[in-house]
């Protein structure tokens, strides 16, 4: 009896802290066995690479917390990227502002389909995933455009106190979303709606408004990721930017311990999940293992993460 209890406790501990433990193990391994791992340059490279995924994953964590999913994030990134060069002539701020508004409008469209029309999130956002990429290509005439705006280029490659701006932006957004979930009425309402939508509606929560706002936030975060990725790339590439990023973001969220069934949002876990996946890829590449191995390992990690989560719902029912 105590034995099963211990085993259950181990499982629960692994579910809640496994992602952090895995990061510690991998970091220690790399410190010992990988050359040039603990250098500032390598650290910055890895963090800059993961930043767009992390920013998208923050919004995804919120949406998944409402028992939803947002497949459209990659296309929203592409739309934001396509808008930037069109309006950079009027200055950096108007261009970024318009890109963010476009992200918000995309989120509003998703939110309306989900909350008002009542379509399952997977299909509602699938429509924008398909249509949004086409829209971005139409906006950009299907062309890759070089960015020549110095301020935007500086955003992509500049540093403050030795830390790239992009990493600082991602970190600031993570803190912001963490506070939003933990300390605001909206955050609590979001978790309640995800836990039990009809009970929340009966309790008088503004379910529709909460859902709409959640998808709008996800859209805006995706647009920010699009801007950041464009700045780093020094070019607006609407055909490739953000391709399949929805899968990386969902992976980060799930590996970080947020259940797909909603009602729970773990922002720190999501950050750790994104870092872990990046760390795995980096470790395998540094040891000259090909991309194919990295993908198979990632697949195994995802299954392991959901297997550990299953024990919770299994114990409950």
């Amino acid at each position: 009896m105590t034995e099963t209890l211990t085993r259950q406790n181990t499982r629960i501990w692994l579910r809640d802290n496994g992602v952090y433990a895995a990061i510690v193990v991998l970091v220690v391994y790399n410190l010992v066995f990988t050359d040039n791992f603990a250098t500032v340059a390598n650290l910055n490279t890895q963090l800059v690479q993961v930043a767009p995924i992390l920013i998208v994953a923050l919004g995804m964590a919120l949406v998944i917390g409402t028992e939803g999913i947002d497949l459209s994030v990659g296309s929203v990134m592409a739309i934001a990227a396509a808008i930037l060069p069109l309006y950079l002539g009027y200055g950096l701020l108007p261009a970024i502002g318009l890109a963010l508004v476009a992200g918000a409008v995309c989120g509003l469209a998703n939110g309306t389909l989900v909350a008002v029309v009542g379509i399952q999130p997977i299909v509602a956002t699938l429509a924008l995933l398909v249509g949004g990429r086409g829209l971005a290509l139409v906006l950009a005439d299907g062309q890759l455009k070089d960015i020549r705006n110095d301020e935007l280029l500086n955003l992509g490659s500049g540093k403050a106190l030795g830390i790239p701006y992009i990493v600082l932006i991602a970190a600031a957004l993570a803190v912001l979303v963490f506070l939003l979930v933990r300390y605001t009425t909206f955050g609590r309402q979001l978790v309640a709606v995800g836990g039990n939508r009809s009970a929340s509606a009966l309790a008088g929560l503004p379910v529709r408004r909460v859902l709409m706002l959640t998808y709008v936030i996800s859209g805006v975060l995706a647009a920010i990721a699009g801007i950041v990725a464009t700045a780093r790339l020094t070019a607006s590439d609407p055909s490739a930017i953000g391709n399949l990023i929805e899968l990386s973001a969902i992976t980060a969220v799930v590996v970080g311990g947020t259940p797909l069934s909603g009602g729970r949002v773990r922002i720190l876990g999501t950050v750790a999940g994104a870092l872990l996946m990046q760390l795995i890829t980096a470790t395998l590449i540094k040891h000259n293992l090909p991309d194919s191995t990295a993908q198979i390992v990632q697949a195994a990690i995802i299954v392991l993460a959901v297997y550990l989560q299953r024990s919770r719902s299994g114990g409950r029912s």
Binding site: I122, A124, A127, G134, S292, Q295, I296, Q298, R310
Partner: protein, 338 residues
């Protein structure tokens, strides 16, 4: 009554369905076929080059590969699941066919079926017996299958060609009565699909599991085995479609299939199958696939429009269809409850 009556049949029997509600339910199930007929009719009158034999052959062969994938997806979705891995599995099937054909056509056909079937089986075991969420399990195998594909093609840099005189290649490129052999295979598979869904115990359990898993379990249906077989079927369908597509182009191209799972889901949903499970038709899926391909074809016919509008129209179309479906099923439910 010995057969299982659907909610709709019951309300028809008790005479509670008004004309408007009957129309709504009919539009939900048959709407895609009506829209397909309308689009084809309008396109035939608008473009001289649309209603030609050559163009019809073209649309048919282009639809066939997606249709086979969507057929497996239809069954999975009717049972309340989802299979995101089909795009990767499709690509893997094609590469394996081109890889295996060096030992003969039979190996070229069986190798993709065995490997893709095994991936489908893995999905099925994890979902049915491991009780893991289908969305995540198949997301993982999406990555895993793509990784496997890269591993056997030197990280995607090798494209194997298929000899033109082997019968597997001919199976992809040959024609019968003017239509490509993959089209005929698709037609046969869909005929089998209709019979399986409507006339067999397996089909009925699939519908029952999608309607309510708990109820199906309580009724004593073999829910887990049924679910596992559905994912096995979806993997086999995707692998076969990939092998046929590779045979059609006589090469195992590594970059195909990305986003194919989404196209298949879109076709299934447009065809009137509910993502919540428990209701759907195989014929509707075929209409959904044809609609997607006809729209692409029409946009190509217009010519002046950039091809990027294809996805804009497809996406907008999907949104409109599901919005109308949601509205209709709500109107229908409201009527049924009264």
């Amino acid at each position: 009554m010995t057969t299982v009556a659907t909610a709709e049949e019951q309300s028809v029997a008790s005479g509670r369905l008004t004309g408007r509600e009957r129309l709504a339910s009919l539009a939900q199930r048959r709407g895609s076929i009506v829209v397909l007929a309308l689009v084809v009719l309008i396109a035939s009158f608008s473009f001289d080059s649309f209603a030609t034999v050559g163009n019809a052959q073209n649309i048919a062969i282009q639809s066939s590969f997606l249709a086979i994938v969507a057929l497996g997806m239809t069954f999975v979705i009717i049972a309340g699941g989802i299979d995101l891995s089909v795009g990767s599995v499709y690509a893997l099937g094609g590469v394996l066919a081109a890889y295996g054909i060096q030992w003969g056509s039979l190996v070229g056909l069986l190798l993709p079926l065995v490997v893709c079937g095994a991936i489908g089986l893995l999905n099925g075991v994890l979902v049915a017996y491991g009780r893991l969420a289908p969305f995540i399990v198949t997301l993982a195998t999406l990555l895993g299958a793509r990784g496997l594909l890269l591993a056997i093609t030197d990280e995607g840099s090798t494209t194997r060609l298929m000899p033109r005189d082997d019968w597997l290649t001919k199976l992809g490129q040959g024609t019968f009565l003017g239509l490509g052999l993959p089209v005929w295979i698709t037609v046969i598979l869909f005929a089998i699909g209709v019979v399986v869904l409507q006339r067999t115990g397996f089909g009925h359990s699939t519908l029952a599991v999608g309607g309510s898993r708990e109820a199906a379990t309580l009724m004593g249906l073999p829910v887990a085995r049924n679910t596992m077989l559905l994912y096995l079927g979806s993997g086999l369908a995707a692998g076969l479609a990939g092998a046929l597509a590779a045979a059609y182009s006589a090469s195992g191209v590594t970059i195909v299939g990305e986003g194919l799972e989404l196209e298949a889901i879109a076709a299934v949903v447009i065809g009137g199958t509910l993502l919540t499970g428990g209701a759907g038709t195989v014929g509707g899926t075929l209409a959904g696939v044809l609609l997607l391909r006809v729209i692409q074809n029409v946009i190509n016919q217009i010519g002046t429009l950039s091809s990027h509008y294809q996805s804009v129209v497809s996406g907008a179309f999907l949104a409109v269809v599901v919005a109308v479906q949601a509205y209709l099923s709500r109107a229908y439910l409201r009527g049924g409850r009264r």
